[in-house]
Symmetry: C2
Subunit: 414 residues, 2 copies
């Protein structure tokens, strides 16, 4: 019998208790030991006791109980989660978390403490909900060098973009529908502004290349400025708009990492990832593209990923899993303006044809796109590859010459 504690009794916490109770027999078989929840840490009183474990408001009770070998952290946020998790690890307890904010901000530090104390710090549930991605990336792709990782990492924004594309619903209405269905929170900013996807790509980037990438190092744009006009142009171009988190190796052994809406060609496996689903593409130098697809969030998928990590901890109570990355560096992430990309540009001017001629002179190789319901004076085009800072300089110059840029969206090549 292994005693564990669950810190947090919100959506994921109750799910974890449910999975542990419902699947107790099978889990014992798989873990080769019974798993018992000794404590559930809560901040306020609950009327009904949990299915397993005893409610406590005292973190110290958990910390100081030598019987508790594994602690599940599903409180979310950095405070007090970071302090609690760190002290649990220092006390020789393994920790499992679903807290992407914590891992993205403090992963390197916590992995170092876990290594020093010879315990496990596992976080499969922090990316992709129930989709196995952390473990396959760290283990199965061990014999690959990762060329890049690109993913649709946030279900809420993907639902909104799918609605816009399929039904021609505008952003605000699609967001409202997502909120009504419970896919988006009342304050949707962490989703629609890209912060959630940013945390996840930071975790994947850190894992893929062995050094911590911090959220504040990653240029992040959300989807709030995507209009139906952009979505229509994506379609005529031959693709869709998706919120993508992407990381790549640069030739000088740093990484290029960004979160932003991108045009994705229809032939890409990521183009077919719709609704609240997530899709993560890992490009290995040997395996080529491998894609992981499934529901990226939700109480039960996330809870099941947490419990799978708990089982892994039980099996490895004496043998640490080799999950590790070292600390990052302010210079480790390339300035996103240095990256060379293809861009979609939507603009307007008094004379659209003449303005496009001017734009085509500034962007050699630019190809014009058309849509049915174009506004008067509107035009759009796709550039050749060029550095982002060069693109923006050229667009600024064109604006001085009387053209108004309404939208500039990166084109993904994955």
């Amino acid at each position: 019998m292994v005693e564990i504690a669950v810190m947090g009794y919100g959506v994921v916490g109750t799910g974890v208790i449910e999975v542990l109770a419902k699947h107790a027999e099978g889990l014992t078989l798989r873990a080769h030991e019974a798993i018992h929840v000794k404590y559930v840490l809560v901040r306020r009183d609950f009327p009904n006791p949990p299915m397993m474990g005893t409610f406590t408001k005292s973190f110290d009770q958990i910390l100081e109980d030598p019987e508790v070998k594994i602690v599940v952290e599903v409180m979310g946020g950095l405070n007090p989660a970071y302090d609690y998790v760190r002290r649990c690890l220092l006390a020789g307890k393994s920790v499992v978390t679903s807290n992407k904010e914590l891992v993205a901000a403090k992963g390197a530090d916590l992995l170092q403490v876990a290594r020093d104390k010879n315990v496990n710090f596992l976080f499969e549930a922090s990316v992709g909900g129930g989709i196995p991605i952390i473990r396959p990336m760290s283990q199965c792709l061990a014999a690959n060098d990762v060329v890049g990782v690109a993913g649709i990492l946030n279900g809420t924004t993907n639902y909104i973009l799918t609605k816009m594309f399929r039904d021609g619903t505008d952003f605000q209405s699609a967001l409202k529908q997502a909120q009504e269905l419970g896919y988006a929170e009342r304050d949707p900013s962490a989703d629609v502004e890209g912060a959630d996807a940013c945390r996840k790509i930071c975790i994947l980037a850190s894992l893929a290349y062995g050094r911590h990438v911090y959220p504040e190092q990653v240029h992040t744009e959300g989807i709030t400025r995507i209009t139906l006009a952009d979505v229509e142009y994506a379609e005529t171009w031959g693709g869709v708009v998706k919120l993508i988190g992407e990381v790549k190796r640069t030739p000088d052994n740093r990484v290029s990492c960004i979160v932003c809406p991108m045009f994705i060609g229809r032939e890409s496996q990521l183009a077919n990832v719709d609704d609240v689903f997530n899709g993560i593409m890992v490009r290995g130098d040997v395996t080529g593209d491998v894609v992981f697809y499934g529901k990226g969030a939700g109480k039960m998928p996330t809870a099941s990923a947490v419990v799978a990590d708990v089982i892994d901890c039980v099996k490895h109570l004496k043998a640490r899993k080799y999950l590790y990355w070292s600390d990052g560096d302010p210079d480790y992430v390339e300035d996103y303006r240095e990256a060379s990309r293809i861009f979609f540009v939507r603009a307007h001017a008094a004379d659209a044809d003449a303005a496009f001629e001017k734009a085509a002179a500034a962007f050699p190789g630019a190809s014009r796109l058309h849509r049915k319901q174009a506004e008067p004076g509107e035009f759009a085009f796709v550039t050749d590859h060029l550095q982002e800072k060069v693109c923006d300089e050229k667009l600024a110059q064109l604006q001085k010459e009387g053209l108004t840029v309404d939208s500039r969206i990166r084109i993904g090549e994955m």
Copy 2:
């Protein structure tokens, strides 16, 4: 330093040596030990020595060398692979294999020997080439009950079916093209008759439900009888034809398992798996559908999966991985004729309309399909759910009444 031996120096074997040599530094870092190939077992003389290791024709030399802790089996076939692998495990060596024929036929036996001897028997490369699937299924989905697994498990047949669908190429011409591109072997029967996909679904089924499913227990149909008419009807129905390997739990705790061409609706994630790619969908009771996608074969992806298993063995030389299933049973797999499905039927008669009326009377709820280039007298329809044996009885009766059934294809619901 860990000494290993590689048995077999064909396509995968040379790939394994290449990956080990090319990535030596990174692998050492990941495995926390240098990996050294001491022997390469060959059956004939090679003019040039391998990049690592010494050629030997003596299996006993490997078996009797106590320094060799891990043996890689990439010979293929059952003979002598089964005997060699078994004796290596009995001698206390861990074994990594890419040999799906071996795992599908002898997995339960070899896993038992490995367990008895407290060593590892790993075979990630046996299914899905470089796509991680064995490990995610056994570990990450540990907190799920698997409702079912369905996959496009053979790249050769998927290439052929994609060609037929996209370009209207007939089966024989598409096969010829696949052979010219090196995707199909000169004797393509193991691919096109379904045996290869059958071995893979047996491995996945055994893993998913913990009991061995043997290839001879699984009804297997290949794609040789799929015509362009069927492919066109699949399109008008709203989908594609794919060779699917499928396993599901039955209510009486047995499994239903089959390999055959199926119509797959366009909205399914498996419908977009084209060309030589594989896609495997695992339906968990908690996670819902998770899909793994990538190149399912090829020298280097397969070699990289083998090497990832070798690294895992190195890390777990003293701690066995809990990968295990018990032996099967002749009654464990349900007779495929008992399963209830939806069927597509293509037939012809002197008077197609009258014949369809008759068919619709026999199959209540049948809906007729049309295609542009229908032959005179041809008609086609899709049934409601019914047991396969009942469907076939009804069709046999209709044949007696003057209708000729040209094709009957199962419709996948995944």
